[in-house]
Symmetry: C2
């Protein structure tokens, strides 16, 4: 394939993975660059954070995924800059020339200007985030068991989750189950079922991206699990031992301080720093979250050879609405861009990218989920099964599917979660 058209894809998430895969029969040489050696199935990351699954169950080594795709190679490296003139990607220790470039490096969490909150309220984007959160949550129960002062016990047994999107809702539901079912009988001085899980959301309903009826169903499911949901509450401060929330109109807001040592952040996201590098290299515009505004074919103005896809792209659909930051847009954009690259090499082109909304799903504990397929919205047992099957089928490796299925089955029947390890003791706590 010497001399073949060189496609460089940055980022091995849902977007990047699908570009590379879909190019497998195209007359191109693909290089996938990632800082990590694995693709992470982020929709199940919250289950790692709550001890139900191991990191390897939801992480597929990129080299293994593309072992048999002869026109693809994987490069482990950190991209620092893009040089759109000579068409080169600048790595921290080298260069990679391209004919077509696809940037799909996603987003990380942001604290709306309060970066000082980060040490007290970790977000959930990486495997390390997940094992750190797992350690924090389990350590809180351990501290409660050792504490004698009832006020302090209560603070250790209070878990605050900021943001009631799918991740926040799923975290809240699972921590409730962990406390009330999995840890039952594990302690001698405290009753873990007394834990209070508080879900804080600035909007007037949970799952703001879903249909309001489904938000109501999700709220009912959360409350049935014992979670306390605070809607219309803004977080104004986070410290080591408390989160402060505000409620009501700005001029007559009521402030409340919740004593807790465990705050989890599932609120804002901001674009990967590579968005800025792309803008600098191409003159493309960024939106207020740092995402790159893309054209209807996911390419950049004046640079048809550079595409930005997935969470890093701000793609405005025909209805004027931006696409949500979940797996489906990234997957579909990835496939579209691959097809477009192949079409161009045949001297053809494609109509603009059109997002096909396959629906949204979120689980709230055992037998409870909400499904929003647009033409059909429902909740409960069936939604839960659909959630299960869809997530299982989308895990990349067969072995991982089997391992996840087995662990789900085990948890279902025994209510146990076996991956409850406190590793790399969280900072500031010296147990």
């Amino acid at each position: 394939m010497e001399g073949a058209h060189r496609v460089v894809v940055i980022g091995g998430g849902f977007g990047g993975l699908n570009v590379v895969r879909k190019l497998r029969r195209a007359p191109v040489q693909v290089t996938l660059i990632d800082r990590r050696n694995f693709h992470l199935f982020q929709p199940l990351l919250y289950q790692v954070a709550t001890g139900g699954l191991s990191p390897a169950n939801i992480a597929a080594p990129l080299r293994d995924v593309f072992r048999k795709q002869e026109n693809a190679e994987v490069l482990l490296g950190e991209v620092v800059e893009i040089d759109a003139g000579p068409r080169e990607v600048i790595l921290s220790d080298g260069k990679q020339p391209y004919d077509t470039l696809v940037v799909a490096t996603g987003v990380s969490h942001q604290y709306f200007g309060h970066d000082n909150w980060e040490p007290f309220a970790p977000g959930l984007k990486t495997v390390e985030d997940a094992t750190a959160i797992r350690g924090r949550v389990l350590t809180a129960f351990e501290e409660a068991e050792r504490e004698t002062d009832p006020v302090r016990v209560r603070a250790w047994l209070t878990f605050a989750i900021v943001g009631a999107g799918p991740t926040g809702v799923e975290l809240a539901g699972t921590i409730c189950e962990l406390a009330k079912e999995t840890l039952r009988g594990n302690f001698r001085r405290i009753n873990p079922a007394n834990a209070e899980v508080i879900l804080i959301e600035a909007a007037d309903r949970v799952l703001p991206g879903f249909d309001p009826k489904l938000s109501a169903k999700a709220l009912a499911s959360l409350e049935k699990l014992g979670a306390v949901v605070r809607l219309n509450h803004r977080v104004t401060n986070i410290e080591a031992d408390a989160v402060t929330v505000e409620n009501g109109p700005a001029n007559a807001a009521q402030t409340e301080q919740i004593a807790t040592h465990t705050v989890l952040w599932a609120a804002g996201v901001q674009a990967s720093p590579l968005g800025k590098a792309v803008a600098e290299a191409t003159g493309a515009q960024l939106d207020r979250n740092g995402r790159v505004n893309v054209q209807p074919d996911c390419s950049l103005p004046g640079h048809p050879e550079i595409f930005v896809i997935g969470d890093l792209a701000n793609f405005t659909g025909a209805d004027g609405k931006a696409l949500p930051g979940v797996a489906q847009p990234a997957i579909q954009e990835g496939r579209y861009v691959a097809k477009l690259i192949a079409a161009r090499l045949r001297g053809e082109t494609l109509p603009p990218f059109k997002y096909r909304d396959l629906g949204s799903l979120a689980t709230i504990g055992r037998h409870a989920a909400v499904a929003d397929f647009g033409w059909c919205k429902f909740s409960g047992w069936l939604a839960w099964w659909i959630w299960l099957v869809i997530h299982l089928m989308n895990i990349v490796q067969h072995q991982s599917r089997l391992l996840v299925l087995m662990q789900w089955g085990w948890t279902y029947f025994t209510r146990n979660r076996s991956a409850r390890l406190i590793t790399q003791v969280p900072k500031g706590q010296d147990i």
Copy 2:
């Protein structure tokens, strides 16, 4: 059980776990203290270090293990001192009184006075050690793939393991399989099968604790897998990019420098610092590795209420030989001490502890293992199956057994290892 005889067990390894379990029907109140919240099945730790298993597969949450044992409680904490007069264990943040104390905190690795080698040659004792080694080994292949200078490629593809006891032999065998089978087709510029795995041993044979005939069999199996075994070689220096070995008599030694970035330490062990604390509190003697010399009933001279068991104890058997630092002595001592505690409460006593050698096993890759049962020594296919069954049956949790079995089956048939994640990037390497 207020007012019951208080047994405090420090350390939730094989020794401590078995004391607590065996006391389940005794009229005592047991407190198990550990710094970690899980029991680790160390014999399979090398499989985590080589990407075959996940940490949670070989770690059982201690609270879960003793969930139903009403006379036992688990305390997460760090013991800093023992006060034998008032019979108290001093924690970093509290105290725990005891009537009987069992210390079973094991050993960590030591570098024979060369602590400066540690950053370049990590040992394998904890879950974090295992994931760090996994990251180093996988990163070495990544660096080799990116390197263009053939001499440097060779250094990245050279893996040196110091010490040919069971851990060293198993690590060497598995890294050979990883390079030659699991990673096949994963790279485009290097052939991982060209990796050189060098096992360095100061003695004149591998597995020095086994029968010489089995050492010869193990050597043959290792060489068949492609490992290079250097017997009678002493390590004299370890740096970031080389290990120096010496061969021959001290006055006419030949020195050789092996270029490598990946040195794994499977050589010396030293007692946990708590051995010294026990000696200071009781006047007990330590051996040269810091292990506590114990009486024939595992108690300390002048302190029949304090027992030291497992790797931390230097127990000299009737034959004048010290017990090996493996799981069986710890398990048997733990059960014996529990029985002795129960007997004493009935006003009885027991004859001295007698170690029953159930034999030793070590695997060297697919279908190859050596078994030394004393009355019967053999190697090959049958030894491999026995190794498999014994290890599987000794994993504490049923779910973990099933998960390990499934992953072994998968690896057996596909030669794949799915837990190949590089997490918490190793120090000094900024991929």
